[in-house]
């Protein structure tokens, strides 16, 4: 399969790899996917409690190159955004940016889920009303 240059770039130089302290109240963690499906993403955000701005983001991903690229891109995009702005990121934006082929669209969906799960976790910790609970592994 031919990968787009952007997927290859994110794969070769993934941005924001790592982990943050899960226990911190400023940190939201989203863990989505399943090993059996060949995709697991963990995306973490650190949110400034004063401004609700995501100041840092980290990820680790088990998955194909497109899954790695989607989550790497997601960390880049959420940084500097407010919670509400980050929630507006949709998987179709990721598909467009990375030029993902149809068989890889599920990678972008997973990245969107990871953003939402991380934000959901942060909201729960900080008692922000969350209408729909987002599945997070425990």
């Amino acid at each position: 399969m031919a990968y787009s240059d952007k997927v290859i770039d994110h794969y070769n130089n993934p941005r924001n790899v790592g982990q943050m302290d899960k226990a911190s109240s400023e940190v939201g963690t989203g863990l989505v996917g399943a090993p059996e499906c060949g995709d697991v993403m963990r995306l973490q955000i650190r949110v400034n409690p004063e401004t609700n701005v995501i100041e840092d983001a980290k990820f680790k991903t088990f998955g194909c190159g497109s899954a790695i690229a989607s989550s790497s891109l997601a960390t880049e995009w959420v940084k500097g955004k407010t919670i509400d702005e980050a929630l507006a990121i949709s998987n179709t934006d990721i598909v467009k940016e990375l030029a993902l082929p149809p068989v890889k669209i599920h990678c972008s969906v997973l990245a969107e889920d990871a953003i939402r799960a991380a934000i959901g976790d942060w909201k729960k910790k900080n008692s922000v009303a969350e209408p729909a609970a987002v599945a997070v592994a425990h």
Binding site: N13, P35, T61, V103, A137
Partner: protein, 426 residues
Amino acid sequence: MSNDMSNNGVVISESTKPLPAGVTLPIYMDNHATTQMDPRVLDAMMPYFGKVFGNAASRNHSFGWEAEQAVEKAREQIAKLIGATAKEIIFTSGATESNNLAIKGIAEMYRERGNHIITQVTEHKAVLDTCKKLEKQGYRVTYLPVQADGLVDIEDLKHAIDDKTILVSLMYANNEIGVIQPIAEIGKLCHEKGVIFHTDGVQAVGKIPVDVQKDNIDVLSLSGHKIYGPKGVGALYVRRRNPRVQISEQINGGGHERGMRSGTLNVPGIVGLGKACEIAGEEMEAESKRLIELRDYLKAKFEKALDYVHVNGNMDHHLPGNLNMSFVYVEGESLLMGINDIAVSSGSACTSATLEPSYVLKALGLGDDVAHSSIRFGLGRFNTKAEVDYVSDKLIDVVSKLRELSPLYEMVKEGIDLTKIEWAAH
């Protein structure tokens, strides 16, 4: 290249290092898929693309005789490699056709005797899909399971044979995991029960000693391009005595190949297949010894450098050039992406059109996650130690880096039991 330096220094694939002596890229290490043609085979074929162009079925001029002579020589060369006689070799377009001809041809010919066929779940699709088609036509097919090491249980086979069984079709050696089935024992059982025994010998012939007499094989499929010969040519061995096996033809025409397979013979291809068999017979002993050494060296390097590696398939009954290994907690396609100057295969779902991981690995009872992490190395005649070193070093490097990226690896290292996690799957 990105200027973004916020990647914590993780760089998956670096290609700036100078290549070691004796290595040119890309490296081909996927010899179960196909092989590079041996230059000696090509030399043998060349005249038959040129001046010696006759139709082997032309009986009344020298052009035809010359072609026929070349075909008969190839028949001898193939027969010699597998302990058969020349008259028992039928030429086909390849092993897929051989498997179709064998299974459909026997099913049709022996329909009055019974309608039951036995095969196994790890067969090549050329056998499985053929059997599925026969099921639609009213045949009954038993798909035997395999054990965790890929071997079929002979007791399972014994129990599966009934008075309606006409054919057992079990492969000699598996194309993904390299496991060699107890063929002689299976053949003996089939003969005791009066059942015809067909084996798909594509991966075994020319690689390990195959003898249709000692192995009690009645019908055997083989292919040119898996043994450093040309693509588009194969053969079917059909036993002529003890017992005599009859096959109903699937292609009608001029009655070529004793009526079993009509169609003008592919003379250059057949010459190439014959030559490939001759070379394989002469060099098998030395070649398999060399490949086993390289294979074991490759395996040992991985086991020394990496944790959580898993060998798939029984290593005691194994093809010399095959190594199927799972690099757990790293997904196969992402691994292939990091070694894009090396040709190997993965059992990962992401590398297949169906998004399903390898059915062969699943048949071993491996979890999907282990199947997703598997890489098949197929060492062959033209691979060198320098290449094995390059491939193993590169792979170890990429696996290590992808594990830095893998949340699963991190969790396992922290002592978390991944099976206890409620995964939010799609």
